[in-house]
Amino acid sequence: MAKSFDQTVTELYDREAIRELPQRYCDCVWRGDVAGIVNLFAENGSFTVVGPKREHTTTGRADLHKSYAEGLASLTPRPYIHNHVIELKGSGRANGRCYVELRDASNNLAWLGTGFYDDEYIKVGDDWKFNSRRFQQVHMEHRQPKAVAQR
């Protein structure tokens, strides 16, 4: 059955709000806005980093805040997001995937690596949030410690 006009507009509105989540995430990372990043997650939201040898998950806003504050201080990434696909699942749930390139603010914005996020989104009140983000590294340049890189 064809969607009604109201359904179509509501879906477009949901997709627009979801599309903005990874964009705002990158914007916050660029500006070092840790509170802004964490506010994009649901209260019990989680972030998982999947590396070649290990996987690490952080859950809940307090731990996310700590993890992002430490991570952004040591890595200084500058992300650019690409290729965001979204699937609305109904009942305030959706998932998506988007691809990222990273550059390094501590090393003249040299290319740092790339990967993708597998995301689950949830509608909390009128706002869409990350229920979970799972970052899968595809390639990451070997990075010298900050003090060496700045010489």
Partner: protein
């Protein structure tokens, strides 16, 4: 209170029109379409460049035409790629946004030369959204020590 479908449709149309401004800007820069760039600004629109040490402002159509006319005259002929555009609708035909750019240089075989971001103010002029101001912040630019 939940938004009506009419409010949602109007916001979507505004956001789509605003999202297109930085994309059209890049498209015009790629094609050296100077009048096209300047047409994206309001009549009193301004472009501000902020480096670490200095700031330059071009305000109004004539100043913008003069500024962008120099686009291809230096060592750099930029080819921009825009990313991470976030938009905040403020109501009453005003909005703000931020977007990030990577630049490559035609004169160096499209070598990557730098990156930065734009802080934008948007204004609705009649039915059309325009740049009220664009402020470019350099994050890193090759050949400009200290930035």
């Amino acid at each position: 209170m939940a938004k009506s479908v009419e409010q949602m449709a109007a916001e979507l149309a505004d956001r789509e029109a605003i999202r297109e401004l930085p994309i059209k800007y890049c498209d015009c820069v790629w094609r050296n379409d100077i009048p096209g760039i300047v047409d994206l600004f309001a009549a009193d629109g301004a472009f501000i460049t902020k480096g670490r040490k200095r700031e330059h402002v071009a305000s109004g159509r004539d100043a913008l035409l003069k500024l962008y006319a120099g686009l291809t005259s230096g060592d750099i002929t930029p080819r921009p790629y825009i990313h991470n555009h976030v938009i905040d609708l403020k109501g009453a035909g005003r909005a703000t946004g931020r977007c990030y750019v990577e630049l490559r240089n035609v004169k160096q075989n499209m070598k990557w030369i730098g990156s930065g971001f734009y802080e934008d103010d948007y204004v609705k002029t009649g039915d059309t959204w325009k740049f009220k101001s664009r402020t470019f912040h350099t994050a890193y630019m090759e050949g400009t020590p200290g930035r």
